[in-house]
């Protein structure tokens, strides 16, 4: 018996007003509306639980896919482009698509879900009674599936009655006749909303968005900065549970981005906040950066392991290395979860939220506007980038290149903070100037860090007696490739940094803040 959940249109539904008048008696309503041409008889009733799944950032929805687990049927169901795919599945969520049994649903969701876990975002329950609509010969010519349902998680919400009209093969005309009679003679009305769309639209499922004010040019500078910092804090709140539960590696990535942005804003704009506030939290956010680094570094290795292995002569030789990284990651993740469950973390976010809310409630630097702050700091920072770039020669220490990388990153974060105030096309141009440069600097940095880390891992594995010669040789080969990448990036950078930070880029920056 098909459920309305997975049922193709036509679907009829009751309006909210009719719903409030009380649930109608299904059989009586149908029988009365269809008499005397048809009779109605209840055939069966079943209850279905539907676990609605998507990645936390809604990747499947964006790709036009609705995914659900029907635990009673042990089925995974996907709807896309009017197509319905099913495959057997058991077990619990969250889970990565790579952890699902092979099947056509797995194939469908693997790419769009990327490296993100499939997480239940809602659970619904649907009770469907099927009525046979019979003609004068007593032959069933149409089936009507009357579904009453409710959202059970994350909140309890009754859903409107849905009536699916099932067209039986060879009885298309009768189906249309029945549909028209129901629309004419009952409060039921056609709807295009699928069960999934209906559930997604419920207010109970809308993400709890932190109250943000958005930036305006005439705002007090401290107000604007505190508002931006509250946004990053909301990002920490949204990702911390996913990290502790180790749902997928992107929770940690997003958390670290929010930490980095917070630290940059504290460094570059923290002076507009009440005296001492930034200094007070800087060490705490540095600590957050430090406790999250080991797990993230190991995540990066694990995510890239297959593609790294493909670059060495004997990919299988990296298996021991992979196992070692996984082992280390388990330990690092435990330490990270402990840190994020600690009193220190709770105190940090609670106190930080309170302090920022206080700034919003009583802005104190009314003489400095957000627009003036943006102009001053973007120019200062751009000059810093140019100064640092100018120092770089073919012989200069790696340290100077890292300094440039940091300044460029800070420029990028500043632009993101002030984005609502900036000229849109200039923003795009400057971002373009910086993107290529940052990619290059990132390549330099990654090459160095990875090569150093590989040497360290190799030593640890040797000390622990966990490695054979082949693995060390493969790691050496990999390390050589990283060093080569670093050298190549450096050569390009020395020769071309004027392209990214020259007079043309300076003009873009002027235009950026002039609006």
């Amino acid at each position: 018996m098909p459920l309305n959940v997975i049922f193709d249109p036509p679907i009829l539904t009751l309006s909210a007003a009719d719903e409030r008048r009380g649930a109608p008696q299904a059989e009586a309503l149908l029988a009365e509306a269809l008499a005397p041409s048809y009779t109605v008889a209840a055939e069966s009733t079943r209850t279905e639980i539907v676990t609605h799944l998507d990645t936390v950032d809604g990747r499947l929805h964006a790709a036009g896919i609705d995914l659900a687990h029907l635990p009673r049927r042990r089925r995974l169901l996907a709807l896309t482009d009017g197509q319905r795919l099913e495959q057997p599945v058991t077990g619990t969520w969250p889970r990565l698509a790579t952890e699902l049994p092979a099947g056509e649903v797995t194939s469908l969701v693997a790419e769009p879900s990327w490296i993100r876990a499939l997480i239940p975002y809602a659970t619904t329950q649907a009770e469907t009674t099927t009525y046979a609509i019979r003609n004068g010969d007593g032959k069933t010519v149409v089936r009507a599936h009357w579904t009453t349902g409710s959202l059970t998680k994350p909140a309890s919400v009754e859903l409107p009655v849905r009536v699916g009209i099932e067209t039986l093969r060879g009885y298309g005309a009768e189906s249309e006749r029945v549909r028209r009679a129901l629309v004419r003679n009952t409060p039921l009305a056609p709807t295009d909303l699928s069960w999934f769309a209906l559930v997604r639209g419920l207010p109970a499922l809308r993400p709890a968005v932190t109250q943000r004010f958005g930036m305006r040019p005439d705002q007090a500078a401290d107000f604007a900065v505190a508002d931006a910092l509250l946004g990053y804090l909301a990002e920490l709140d949204a990702t911390v549970e996913g990290i502790v539960a180790d749902v997928d590696s992107e929770f940690l990535h997003d958390f670290r981005v929010a930490v980095r942005r917070t630290r940059s804003v504290l460094k570059l704009l923290g002076d507009v906040l009440p005296a001492g506030l930034a200094d007070q939290v800087v060490p705490e956010f540095r600590w957050l950066g430090e406790v999250t680094t080991p797990t993230r570094d190991l995540d990066v290795y694990l995510l890239e392991l297959d593609s790294l292995a493909a670059t060495v002569t004997h990919p299988d030789d990296l298996t021991t290395f992979g196992e070692y990284v996984r082992e280390k990651r388990t330990t690092a993740q435990k330490a990270l979860a402990k840190a994020l469950r600690s009193r220190r973390y709770t105190d940090l976010v609670t106190g930080w939220r309170r302090a920022l809310s206080e700034v919003i409630a009583h802005p104190s630097h009314a003489e400095m506007t957000a627009a003036a702050l943006a102009e001053e700091r973007l120019h200062t920072n751009f000059r810093k980038c140019r100064r640092r770039a100018a120092k770089i020669t073919a012989e200069s220490e790696s340290e100077l290149i890292h300094d440039l990388r940091k300044a460029c990153k800070e420029m990028r974060y500043l632009m993101e903070v002030f984005k609502p105030l900036l000229d849109k096309s200039a923003y795009k141009s400057v971002l373009g100037d910086f993107k290529e440069l940052q990619d290059l600097l990132g390549e330099f940095q990654d090459g160095e860090v990875q090569a150093v880390a590989l040497r360290q891992f190799a030593q640890e594995m040797v000390d622990a007696g966990k490695v054979d010669a082949n693995a060390i040789l493969a790691m050496g080969e990999l390390s050589g490739k990283f060093e080569a990448r670093q050298r190549a990036a450096r050569e390009t950078l020395t020769a071309h940094h004027e392209n990214y930070l020259g007079a043309k880029a300076a003009k873009h920056v002027d235009r950026l803040v002039s609006a």
Partner: protein, 256 residues
């Protein structure tokens, strides 16, 4: 897709009863099942309360100008569809004869249904005609209901010989007892002896019972209203034997 025919040269031996009940059991196990009522009398069509009418009739179906899928009707049972009888089927021999390779036309017509159905059951008219030959050539298994009488047994042997002499692809032939009356000595003797002598005959016997006769009154398959009756249980055994003979893959009985 496997094709099963319910066939006997003689009439009134339980062909339609078997075709309807086996089709119902197949669908109930989750197999997408089609029953084609090839008998112009339309008894199976009547049992499913469907009008015995196919637009364009036998000529258009046989020519292929009316797609089979367009003529199919859903029954009241999930997973079970019916290609209804039509009075023009009485001239199907003539229509078939006009086609190239007339003995293989039915098989050709059925092949596009393989994506929609797992099992097709043919309820056939009682005769030995071009339609019958088409049925034999189209089927993977021919089920032959046998009333336990000497003449009936002789007819089965004639059919077995005819099937063995078919050139090319041959269906499996399986006889079983129908309308068994255990009070009759002859029925009991044949039931005891024939399956031992002829491996093409199953020891399964469908008893003659009023519950079976009720099918035409209730217009439903027997297991739908008397699942525990001896006749329904016997049809269950017969279907299990079919599943085994054709090695039908296990189906998912959960609703479609």
């Amino acid at each position: 897709m496997k094709v099963i025919a319910s066939y006997n040269l003689k009439g009134g031996v339980g062909k339609t009863t078997a075709a309807v009940n086996l089709a119902y059991l197949s669908a109930r196990q989750g197999r997408r099942t089609l029953l084609w009522d090839l008998d112009p009398q339309g008894a199976a069509t009547y049992l499913f309360r469907v009008k015995p009418r196919v637009k364009g009739g036998s000529p258009k179906l046989v020519r292929g100008s009316r797609p089979m899928l367009d003529a199919i009707k859903a029954t009241d049972f999930i997973g079970l569809d019916l290609l209804p009888a039509d009075f023009t089927y009485r001239h199907m021999d003539i229509d078939l004869n006009d086609r190239p390779k007339p003995q293989r036309t039915l098989r050709r017509l059925l092949s596009p249904l393989a994506t929609d159905y797992d099992v097709v059951i043919l309820d056939t008219p009682p005769s030995l005609s071009l339609v019958s030959e088409n049925v034999l050539r189209a089927s993977d298994l021919v089920l032959v209901p046998l009333i336990p009488t000497v003449l009936s047994v002789r007819t089965f042997e004639q059919l077995a010989q005819f099937t063995a002499e078919l050139k090319g692809r041959k269906p499996k032939l399986r006889g079983y007892f129908s309308m068994l009356d255990r009070r009759r000595k002859l029925h009991q003797e044949i039931l005891a002896e024939l399956p031992a002598e002829n491996r093409q005959v199953s020891p399964i016997a469908i008893p003659s019972a009023s519950a079976v006769e009720q099918m035409s009154v209730r217009r439903e398959p027997l297991p739908a209203y008397a699942a525990k009756s001896p006749a329904a249980l016997a049809f269950g055994q017969l279907w299990d034997e079919v599943v085994e003979l054709l090695k039908l893959p296990a189906a998912d009985p959960s609703p479609h």
